[in-house]
Amino acid sequence: MIDLLPVLVPLPVLLPLLGAGLALVLSKHSRAQNIVSILILSAVMIISLIMLFGVDAHGPQVVAIGGWEPPAGIVLVADRLSSLMLVVSSLVTLCVLIYALSQDANDDSDETPISVFNPSYLVLCAGVANAFLAGDLFNLYVGFEMFLVASYVLLTLGATAERIRAGVTYVVVSLVSSIIFLAAIGVIYSATGTVNMAQLSERLSELPPDVQMILHVLLLIGFGIKAAIFPLSFWLPDSYPTAPAPVTAVFAGLLTKVGIYAIIRTETLLFSESSLRVPLLIAAALTMVVGILGAIAQSEIKRIVSFTLVSHIGYMLFGVALGTTVGLAAAIYYTVHHIIVQTALFLAIGMVEMRGGSTSTRSLGGLMVLSPALSIIFFIPALNLSGIPPFSGFIGKVGLFAAGFSDHDWLAVSLIVAGTVTSLLTLYVIGRTFNLAFWRDPADAEEPNDELVAEFAERKKAKLAGKPWKSQIGVPGSMFAATTVVVIASIVLTVFAAPLWGMANRAAENLQSPVGYVSDVLGGDGS
């Protein structure tokens, strides 16, 4: 079992890449292509689960690619944090894939050419896994580029005017962030002579504080754009909503969190000595408040949820910026929660769009009566997002606030106030959305949708006459099933909150002592 673990570590990167190649070869046979993609991602999920339990029991696994021992060669490192992120990301990517494929199968319009979708999607998964496992800074960059280039393709699928417009902003902003990251790597290399993260952890702390600060800020700006931290978040609500629903779901769920993951690594492993606590806390507060204020102004559900996504990135940054073990543990738990909930919400919104013909709160209405199952599937993650008690959003926020209080600092306490206000405003936004799109009579909408109005009237008539009327979900069963799985996963986060919190806590403890990571990677000579 222990011998097997190092073999598993590179597989979450290798298998999807292999699958992408196979899917390209099979591009004429969409059925075979789909089977390959689903099998590959299921395998990745099982491997990630085994890795998580293995790593938790036997400590971090380090694999030197091609037998080049660190620090000379490329290393993949699977510790608790990266395996946990891998498990969540593989679950989400698998569910979104199933959702996307069943949507495609039922979509008559050729807006999403399936032969391009599968390979790019698998490359995206490989890139995300590579970023989580990367043990050196340049490999992290390569992971970022892999999923970014795949995301460019996915975001502009079908190349309609609207998507190209959004794609241009997204691609250019991402390129700028990549270039800043790459420049940071160049400068760090010339300052320290290595890109291996374990070795960097030792050497960076020997640099003069001002040089450290420059390198630190440079890296954080690069990652901050990816993670959509205010004031670097402007691009996100502009570009995400135009993509196809499953693509938006996986982007919103995963890609920003990869940025957060990179920030966690930067703060704990690379720059544990130089602290940017105050600016990061302020950025976290602004991200929360400005993001949610943006959401209030919107009328498209996709845009509303994109703005809340930006806003809730602030919570994770809050935990990371605190820098304590409790804060990090809460940030990790919150990240896991947010990946799942955000994906579930976007998948549900995709079905709302299919059922109601649009995602604008100006034209939707009556979905609660017309499609109760869909409403519930939307309502659970929506409540979860705003942090209503039984759900994981509440647990994560309580953890964060507790970590903030234990800091005995006015800034941390004002962050708690900002977090509470944001949470209440999220509830307001979600409540208003639900009220408009699900509760009211569709005829009351500003721009009523004739089909919904007719259906609603029919339903009313049937009810008055006492006739049975069967509500229709109006979307393919497998799409609904995939979304349900993600929603159930979000509930599982509540049911198994204690073990998960324990795992997050242990991961945070590992992060707090970079010496352990260094000695694991460099083979004992770390301390």
């Binding site: 005017a161 190209i164 010339s190 002579g193 502009d238």
Partner: protein
């Protein structure tokens, strides 16, 4: 490690030009800016290797004295390939954008504009509802339905009574609220036809 000053200067120049070009609205300039920026970063990485002889030995003397650092050269290869691929993608996207909208510039986000316009109309509509039945009703309403006309000459567009009454008839109940939506619909309708023409 010594670095030739002229190369550092060239790197700075590439960065400066690249950033300047990327701030433009024209997509081709953004692309050129990205190419310059990418080359600037590549130059930065290659400069970290320092000047020296190629890292080759004759097999007997294994001293690394005077050699340049080979790792940045390995890194830069990856970076060049990535920059190249992304440039190709950007170029394809810009071409597609040109095909679709016949303009080499970044388009405005219609959803953004809609939110901005809606807020403006809504606030004006709410202000005018109370006066709807008075003689000021017509005057209060005209800026709403004719919001765009205002910009032409900078002063309120004068409306004849007949025009307003047809507007009213269109909006049905004669409330400012419904008037707003009809104006909104019109705005949307014209947008729709525009995009159709573009296609």
């Amino acid at each position: 490690m010594t670095v030739p000053f002229i190369m550092v200067l060239a790197m700075g120049f590439l960065f400066a030009c690249g950033i300047y070009l990327m701030l433009e609205r024209s997509l081709t300039r953004v692309l050129l800016g990205f190419i310059l920026l990418g080359n600037g970063v590549n130059l930065l990485i290659i400069l970290t290797a320092g000047r020296g002889v190629p890292p080759l030995t004759d097999g007997k003397n294994l001293s690394t004295e005077g050699m340049s650092d080979p790792l940045p050269q390995a890194l830069i290869l990856t970076a060049i390939v990535i920059t190249f691929a992304v440039t190709a993608f950007l170029l394809a996207m810009i071409y597609r954008s040109w095909r679709l909208v016949r303009a080499d510039s970044l388009q405005d986000d219609t959803a953004d504009l809609r939110v901005a316009i809606t807020k403006m109309i809504d606030s004006e509509a709410e202000a005018s509802t109370d006066y709807d039945d008075t003689e000021f009703g017509d005057e209060a309403e005209s800026p709403i339905t004719g919001a765009i006309d205002l910009d032409d000459d900078g002063k309120p567009h004068e409306r004849e009574d007949g025009e307003v009454s047809t507007d009213r008839a269109k909006s049905g109940a004669g409330k400012a609220r419904t008037g707003t939506t009809s104006a909104n619909k019109d705005g949307r309708g014209s947008e729709g036809t525009e995009t159709e023409e573009k296609k």
